[in-house]
Symmetry: C2
């Protein structure tokens, strides 16, 4: 059987940085050639970064991508890399224009190019377009209906893109019909917990269906709310995993493959077994196999366990959001509680403790212990600590309200008073962020955000929220896991045990505890998982065994907090349904799963609460 | 020719309020019957409201809609309205399940029901699904491929939905092939400036293509950022406009039609002339025409002029966002400038001056005139005025910074100092909003938001931004138009002339004027229109005659402000491309149309500016 040495370039492009991304391609192509590879694969939309969203609809951006892929082919040839086959994702326009409303002629396509000999020798446009969850590809792209089969060193290679694997039929069916030997599948597949298991099974199934070895290359790194976890993999049609790359790290995965000699000449229209047909186009570069050589085995990286995987996703997302947006330092308000402690630890792992500035802003309701615990956290890891008490500012507000005729003469009370303290901190953080150039990180977690248990412009103020998609129960698990990991390495535990052990409190009123207003977090998180992630209705939640009173309270809180969630900063997605791109609900929404409250007006009068803790 | 009296119910449903929306249907059906109508049409997704976004993906919501349409048919029959044909939009599930990833079996469809005799007699599912601009219908729905033709009083009536008109081929082509006499087209078509002209031409063209009279019914009212403007219309295949409803007002438009007698029995599969085929299904209710009667002419409402139309959209959007979210009062910070003056006037028109609370919060940099102008504005219209000076709070912050070791010992300066004052106001507004239950309205306009010329958590704090999609130049035009309208009605001009005449200033530093940092607003707005609305690239902007220095500055400002725009509250859409659902750009984005700055690091170091004025 012909041999082929294939390199999978698991790399970290940046959306919009077409030139920088092209430089990564040239660099990795050179390394692949140095490693003796015949073919190197880069991720989906490598040149533009993924997802570029509405940049796709800018004609100047589309042209820049088209120009860049031509220049890249030329540059690879000039650099002596013309013998290497290079598959690279980019943005191109449909050659078969079919204009319709809101879509100009020459519509965009999510494309892959096969570069060889200093030229672009074949193109492929993604056939199956995902338009669910975080994906909006029907907004941007028209589907492709042509499968290019490139004969390289006597092996027939076809290009496919990401979702092409996740739906039945289409290019995989056509690969089988066309007798393809190697399917190069390039991806921009975002991380979710345990998704690596699903991917592995999927690639094995599709490889068997195609009757071809399947090389799956994915990007790594953070892009706004998405984190790409790499996990590139090569599988044989019999299900054997031939090589597997690390999660979350850049890597050039090199593997030697024994592949069937090209044996088919099927071309033209082929039934794609998905209600469409596709055209097979053949390009012959080199019909003869390479001379036999000693093959090396590809590496098989170990999988991370659940907490390690989540931690790596949060660190990656935080690092790349900071760096790719041009910041080198971050600021975190330390309350002495578990959330801000975990955020500070993530940040220190992401960009180094010297770049992590932390500030304590005690008020009259803060306990002594809170400040001491915060300071101890900072000292253990060497974070940049400072203290800024806010009592004087809160008093000045109270005086201004009392002196004015603005309707607050009797002083603030209840939620308005609690929120004031939180907002006084938010404003002080932003002043520090503006003057000192730090990116402000937010401490809130997914359970708080789900229930609206946070103050708009207060503790939610900032640019990035590392725990946005992390339920409170998991925050504790991560803290324990991170401390254990430190112990295993003989390091000091970064998070003081008393911060993990204390009862959670916003400390905005005397003796206040979260449990006074919310169900215990383990109970709350279980209902949230079923209501938010699984979209169960009230009847199904009760059937699943949840307590009716808790269910009604949680549904009401979640439904009323949509407005607040809309104004929350981005954070790394780790779940099937985060509160960012995944879940898109109207703000003005009178749908109520719960029975009408006794006082029907109570529902309406709670609406101002949308802007309160 | 058979006669038919048709009523178009131009009404205002609320997303999620399935029961309330059904009550509207029964009420208008009764009024239509009282007016002698044989058929009444309700808008797209009438029962669920539109757009319900991810509510569609909740099984409990889908079931509630399906149950509601059955109950509605029964209730209409019981109420003696069974003889009336009722076409109503709702959410249903596809009867021909084809599961795929992320989509369960029985997938949702954007549907219309024909109710008669207490039963649902025919269904139609939208064939053309829009997935551009504000629309995401491929996320939610699977397309329909069946056209129901209902014979009512000897006339063949077909149902179609909104986008079915906006694309070539599909149900309109099939209506022609099936010899339909009346096309009932139900809509949830959002307002844009001058869209009424486009709609009128479109309905005339499609009516001619179908060879049938076309009755187009649209909803009115606000839903988050969308405003529906009504503008329901009935056109004959020869292009004659037979009746036209008002813009922005609820109305029951009743029109008598002479329609061709049912003459075709085409059914089964028909080529839809869009690459698909559709199945024609016939339902015969009543084959005999009604006895001849004296027809009345339908009304032809006058069109509003440009400013009146925009003003009505802003008032409608503000009124419905307030009311549908359960608020009865609003709060506005009055600076003495044009933006907050126009917002307060819109609010007074929307919910009445008694419900509009306005507060002045002067700082050390506010001019005497600003406070006096604000107070005069409040007095002219009878708004609820109060004053709350913020100097003491700003001083308390300065003292806290000076006393602390948080790196601000030398005091705040520049943007950080300016932003502090704005955020001190934002926090005070939110305290008032929380304690007194007012919805906080934001004064910012589209030109500011485009360029990031606003303070996060400061002047951008609040729940709704009536001018979010209104360029500054248009704000002035609207102020002059509103004053002129008052003069025409013999009322006091609501906006003092000195507020219109003064040079715009944020008053956050001594003698500060907007023109110190931005191009003159007429120049700025012209570039913004071409860059944002038309998506022109830099080369095209220069070719269009814009000044290179201005272009480079504006592009840079707009590109860096994406983060701030993401955290902005919603506001009524009036343009083809607002900064809400229309334009979806990544935050992390290194695409730069402009030439690299001399100091390349300047681009990165500007990034913290994303969180500053």
């Amino acid at each position: 059987m012909p041999q082929l040495r294939v390199a999978l370039a698991q790399v970290n492009p940046t959306v919009g940085d077409i030139e920088g991304n092209a430089r990564i391609v040239v660099d990795r192509a050179r390394r692949a050639a140095d490693a003796g590879a015949h073919l190197v694969l880069f991720p989906e939309m490598m040149l533009t970064g993924y997802p570029p969203e509405d940049l796709v609809l800018r004609r100047s951006f589309l042209t820049a991508s088209q120009d860049a892929v031509g220049r890249l082919a030329h540059e690879l040839g000039r650099a002596g890399l013309g013998d290497l086959g290079v598959v690279v994702g980019y943005l191109d326009a449909c050659r078969d224009p079919s204009p319709r409303l809101g879509r100009p002629a020459g519509e965009p396509q999510n494309s892959a190019a096969f570069l060889h000999g200093g030229r672009l020798v074949a193109r492929y446009a993604k056939h199956h377009l995902p338009n669910y969850g975080v994906f909006d590809e029907f907004r941007y792209f028209v589907p492709g209906d042509t499968l290019a089969v490139v004969r390289l060193h006597g092996v027939d290679v076809a290009m496919t893109i990401c979702e092409d694997l996740w739906q039945e039929g289409g290019p995989i069916a056509v690969c089988h019909a066309a007798g393809v030997g190697l399917v190069a599948n390039i991806n921009g597949s975002p991380y979710e917990r345990k998704k690596d298991d699903v991917r592995c099974e999927l690639t094995r199934r599709r490889s068997a269906e195609a009757g071809a070895t399947l090389a799956y290359v994915n990007m790594v790194g953070g892009q706004d709310e998405l984190v790409f976890d790499g996990d590139s993999i090569v599988v044989a049609p019999d299900g054997e995993v031939l090589a597997r790359a690390a999660q979350f790290d850049e890597e050039l995965l090199v593997v030697d493959l024994d592949l069937p000699a090209a044996h088919s000449n099927v071309d033209g229209q082929v039934d794609a077994d998905d209600g469409t047909s596709m055209r097979v186009e053949r390009v012959t570069l080199l019909s003869e196999p390479v001379p036999a050589y000693d093959a090396v085995r590809g590496p098989q990286c170990e999988r991370l366990d659940d907490c390690a995987e989540v931690w790596a996703a949060l660190v990656t997302g935080t690092r790349d959001y900071t760096r790719k947006n041009g910041f080198s330092t971050v600021l975190i308000g330390l309350s002495g509680g578990i959330d801000s402690a975990v955020v500070a630890t993530i940040a220190a792992d992401a960009i180094g403790p010297d770049n992590v500035h932390v500030v304590g802003m005690p008020s009259r309701y803060s306990t002594e212990g809170s400040v001491a615990d915060a300071e101890e956290l900072a000292q253990r890891r060497g974070l940049q600590w400072s203290l800024l008490p806010i009592g004087g500012v809160v008093e000045a507000y109270e005086k201004a309200f009392t002196d004015s005729a603005a309707g607050l003469g009797g002083g603030l009370h209840g939620l308005a008073e609690e929120n004031l303290q939180s907002r006084v901190r938010g404003t002080a953080w932003m002043a520090m962020s503006n003057q000192l150039g730090h990116l402000m990180l937010v401490g809130g977690n997914k359970s708080e955000l789900a229930t609206g248990f946070a103050t708009l412009y207060g503790d939610t103020a900032g640019g990035f929220a590392p725990l946005k998609d992390v339920p409170k129960s998991l925050v504790w698990d991560l803290a324990r896991w991170r401390n254990a990991a430190a112990r295993d390495r003989g390091e000091v535990e970064p998070i003081p045990q008393q911060i993990i052990d204390k009862l959670p409190s916003a400390e905005l009123a005397p003796g206040q505890l979260d449990q006074d207003r919310l169900p215990p977090y383990d109970v709350l998180d279980a209902v949230l998982t079923d209501y938010v992630e699984r979209d169960l209705g009230r009847a199904q939640l009760l059937a699943a065994g949840h307590d009716a009173e808790v269910v009604d309270k949680v549904i009401r809180l979640v439904d009323l907090a949509e407005w607040k969630r809309r104004q929350y900063p981005p954070g790394p997605k780790i779940s099937p349904k985060n509160f960012g791109r995944d879940r898109r609900l109207p703000i003005t929404n009178r749908w109520r799963e719960t029975p009408a409250p006794v006082d029907a007006a109570g529902d309406d009068s709670a609406a101002p609460d949308r802007a309160t803790r």
